[in-house]
């Protein structure tokens, strides 16, 4: 800017020079502003373009970078987790698995198979400690998800040599569909056929059950298998494995501390309907009597008072109870781990984004947690052993724990014999491994939650609207280690004696509706098969049929097949059943006493004696069949007997007979309430 030039224009404050001054400034400013606007437009355009560019880049980069091998090498990964996902679940699992890798000194990445050339799998062995994991969802009728279609086609057509490739597959499926987990199963099988090495068993997640749980269970055993395979260990300090952080409360308001509630604080003191799993009702036990006359077992009949709870039920429904662990067992924990069990603490999730803030209601005491919230009686799963191993100071014990948690054949066998078959629970393990002394809070993090137990209701709401009856056998047995193991809920129920000091005879419960129902029309015949405690729902059914008869309804044939060990020992509800028979409510009472003679006589043997009658009821009488009790053997044997009857009297071959029975099930005429 030439001073002189400007000077001359500015100096005289007269109008003419002022005019020119103004116009000069005007021009100056206008041109500046114009220039500024031009700049602005320029600038703005750039701003708009920049967001575009990154987008374009990501679209084109897969085409250029379609080798996941190169990407893995570039980013230092050794584990790739491919996902076949339609709704995002498999993708989420893949992300979680790839994040897990870090804990074991490995580095993972999740990948969409649609974006890469999967034939590169044959090259994965170029990377040290490499592994390909597949989270494959099955879609529709056994089909791959959209993003896995190409991969599926390639697997079918290609004749690749995948030797050197290590893999594992987790399948996401749904048991209500015929082709359960078809994609997961196919990928697992095909990869092996192509020469790849499976390092962990196929996981089959069932969305009809609990897919998340299936995944977690698989994952917890998967990583130990991987570590074993690569000879690595979970790295770093204990804190890197912990999911929760312990906070001990020294000065806490006891009103804010949980004392065994399942949901809302003080929900056991201030009971408010509606009552359900998160808000159980404290029912008073009004009766608790032994049902068997002899033998070593203890079978019992309990009655729970549900007056004023607004709880309704129907015969065939289940009652859920929340049991408590045995106090002496809990005390032993305190002694063996040298902890004051009445310490009040919270375990807070280190992952702040997780919905699950605590593993169980917190703040609470160790005593409460071990009594009401944690399962301390089942043999622990391998992942628990794996995490505890670090605390064993004796190398022999530590090795043994690690071995049992591994996926080697020897390790699995050791776990099976030393833990499962010997029925060693966590306390037994602590006792038998004296150098293993984990911190109690880590143990609380690892142990699974104490589950509610379900019992088939043994009463009819028509006859007992304010009372729910339970028929159960206490579980008690001696293990190979000479210990006496007791079932949690059954022993707890056994000790619920009515009218004892207030609290002791209370049972937190709720009703879970079932689909096990008498036929709509009372005139429809029913054939009930329920040996042992399987008789429970049928007592309710028979009570209801009696009530219907009293109401003047026409009640159809009511047939019962029951079984027990000895007539004089454990014939449950003997008198009640005799009475019902006498009154004509029970039209046929068939009882098998398995041990009263040399050969075993079970319910199915009695059914076989009445083939013709049963066929008539089922085929002509529209009878409904009900089976309740043991799932493993009895239910299967009974079903086979029905196939026999149908084949013989219905003049069908085996396949047709099976079809006939399966159809009865579809139409709700053959119902099962079985447990294992």
């Amino acid at each position: 800017m030439g001073d002189a030039g400007v000077e001359s224009t500015v100096s005289p404050p007269e109008s003419t020079t002022q005019d020119s001054f103004l116009s000069m400034t005007d021009v100056f400013l206008i041109s500046l502003i114009t220039g500024l606007f031009t700049y602005w437009f320029f600038f703005r355009k750039k701003k708009e373009e920049i967001p575009d560019l990154p987008k374009i880049q990501t679209v084109s980069s897969p085409a250029r970078d379609s080798s996941f091998i190169e990407k893995m090498k570039k980013t230092g990964r050794n584990i790739v987790v491919f996902y076949g996902s339609q709704t995002g679940t498999a993708e989420e699992f893949a992300n979680r698995l790839s994040k897990d890798a870090h804990r074991y000194g490995l580095r993972g990445m999740a990948a969409d198979p649609e974006e890469y050339d999967l034939s590169d799998l044959s090259r994965l062995s170029e990377i040290d400690k490499s592994l390909a994991v597949f989270c494959m969802a099955t879609y529709g009728e056994g089909d791959p998800t959209d993003n896995a279609q190409d991969f599926y086609d390639w697997l079918q057509e290609a004749d690749a040599d995948l030797s050197g490739l290590r893999f594992a597959v987790f399948g996401l499926g749904n048991k209500t569909y015929e082709h359960f987990n078809a994609m997961g199963k196919y990928v697992d099988k095909r990869l092996e056929e192509l020469g790849a090495q499976r390092i962990f068993e196929l996981g089959l997640g069932d969305d009809d059950g609990n897919l998340e749980e299936d995944f977690i269970t698989w994952r917890e055993q998967f990583w130990p298998a991987v570590c074993e395979h690569f000879g690595v260990e979970a790295t770093g300090e204990e804190s890197s494995i912990r999911q929760y952080e312990l906070v001990v409360h020294t000065d806490v308001n006891m009103n804010k501390v949980y004392t065994g509630e399942m949901g809302r604080l003080k929900s056991y003191e201030n009971q408010k309907p509606p009552f359900d799993a998160k808000n159980p009702f404290l029912a008073v036990v009004t009766e608790n009597r032994k049902l068997n006359e002899g033998g070593e077992r203890h079978l019992m009949h309990l009655e729970l008072d549900i007056s004023n709870s607004k709880i309704r039920y129907e015969s065939g429904d289940h009652v859920a109870v929340y049991p408590a662990n045995d106090t002496s067992l809990v005390n032993q924990f305190g002694e063996i781990l040298g902890t004051d069990l009445d310490t009040v603490m919270s375990l807070n999730n280190l992952d702040e984004e997780s919905n699950k803030k605590h593993p169980f209601p917190c703040p609470t005491s160790y005593r409460t947690a071990l009594t009401y919230y944690l399962d301390i009686t089942n043999p622990p799963r391998t992942n628990v052993l794996y995490e505890l191993a670090q605390y064993a100071t004796d190398t022999g014990e530590q090795e043994q724990l690690r071995k049992m948690a591994s996926s080697t054949a020897e390790g699995k066998a050791l776990y099976l014999s030393w833990v499962v078959e010997a029925r060693r629970n966590i306390l037994a393990i602590l006792q038998d491994m004296p150098s293993l002394r984990p911190p109690i809070d880590h143990l609380c993090e690892l142990l699974p939650r104490l589950q509610a137990r379900y019992y088939s209701i043994a009463s009819s709401s028509k006859v007992h609207p304010n009372s729910i009856h339970i028929c159960a056998v206490t579980v008690e047995y001696e293990t190979k280690t000479g210990r006496l193991n007791k079932g949690v809920a059954t022993n707890w129920l056994k000790n619920k004696v009515p009218n004892e000091n207030g609290r002791n005879s209370l049972v937190p419960m709720y009703v879970r509706k079932s689909q096990f129902r008498l036929p709509f029309k009372p005139s429809t015949p029913v054939i009930m098969i329920g040996p042992g405690t399987g008789i429970a729902p049928f007592i309710g059914f028979i009570q209801e049929r009696a009530w219907l008869k009293e109401q003047g309804k026409e009640v159809g044939e009511t047939v019962l097949y029951y079984g027990c060990r000895r007539e004089q020992e454990d014939y449950l509800y003997r008198q009640e059943l005799a009475r019902f028979k006498q009154e004509g409510v029970l039209t046929q009472l068939n009882v098998a006493f398995s041990r009263d003679q040399a050969e075993k006589v079970y319910v199915q043997h009695l059914i076989k004696k009445n083939k013709e009658h049963i066929w008539k009821l089922v085929n002509d009488g529209n009878a409904h069949i009900y089976v309740c009790g043991d799932a493993r053997n009895m239910a299967r044997d009974v079903q086979n007997t029905f196939y026999e009857i149908v084949a013989e009297y219905g003049n069908m071959n085996q396949t047709q007979a099976v079809d006939y029975v399966k159809k009865l099930m579809t139409k709700g005429r053959y119902s099962l309430d079985v447990w294992s």
């Binding site: 100096s11 701003k47 079809d659």
Partner: protein
Amino acid sequence: METSQPHSAESMSQDLSELLKEATKEVHEQAENTPFMKNFQKGQVSLHEFKLVTASLYFIYSALEEEIERNKDNPVYAPVYFPAELHRKAALEKDLEYFYGSNWRAEIPCPEATQKYVERLHCVGRKHPELLVAHAYTRYLGDLSGGQVLKKIAQKALQLPSTGEGLAFFTFDGVSNATKFKQLYRSRMNALEMDHATKKSVLEEAKKAFLLNIQVFEALQKLVSKSQENGHAVQPKAELRTRNVNKWHENGPAAGKESERTSRMQADMVTTSPLVRWILALGFIATTVAVGLFAIKQSAARGSRPFPCLLQALLTH
């Protein structure tokens, strides 16, 4: 999906449950293959569409359940009366409040196809109650089967909270096992006293019910494309695999939350460029003007006139 049974002597069965399944096979496939359903299954559904579906379902179920209540003791319906397990009206009201806010009753549209369906339901319930089971079967059993898969799809596609808001319709709290419940329901259908002629009418009514549903899907499809043409603010169809973390659903009341979320999402997408733009523009102008005036001031060496006076001089001219 159930396993299809091979045909044998049993196909002569007169069981209503089996006859219904057979009779509606074709029309069921038709419903699954409407563009709307096909897109839904792929996760290509917008929030706008989903809200419209929920609104139509509300009208349909309100009518259906009103007629069910009317006929609950009528032997032509009583055996299949399962209000605690099946009824959807309350759940739909919860969902509508979540999507539209507390004023949902005034805001929800009722397309003609939905109205037609509602009228048929009232007609059946009042004049032909023996056919009501056809409508209950068509909707409820469908909801219990494929409905569960649709729930997952909707949750991911619309990024609805995992706590279930907006999806109460798909959640059957009273049914612990859908497969077993369907078996029980079938046994109840078969317990209905029905002569051959009535059975045939029920089959026809079930087919009609499916067609009414198809017409509703088609009407909704048209509604959505029309509003897109008119340039309404179209929520982009969320691709299934975008995984934004939604941190804000856990707090605050349900009412109006959804619209808040939408505007926040859109705000996020446009980023902060307008604001930055304005700041920079003003800054530029200010700097340039300041520089310019400073230069002018500099040149006014003859008696340094204070900056403000110069400005004043400029302004008065």
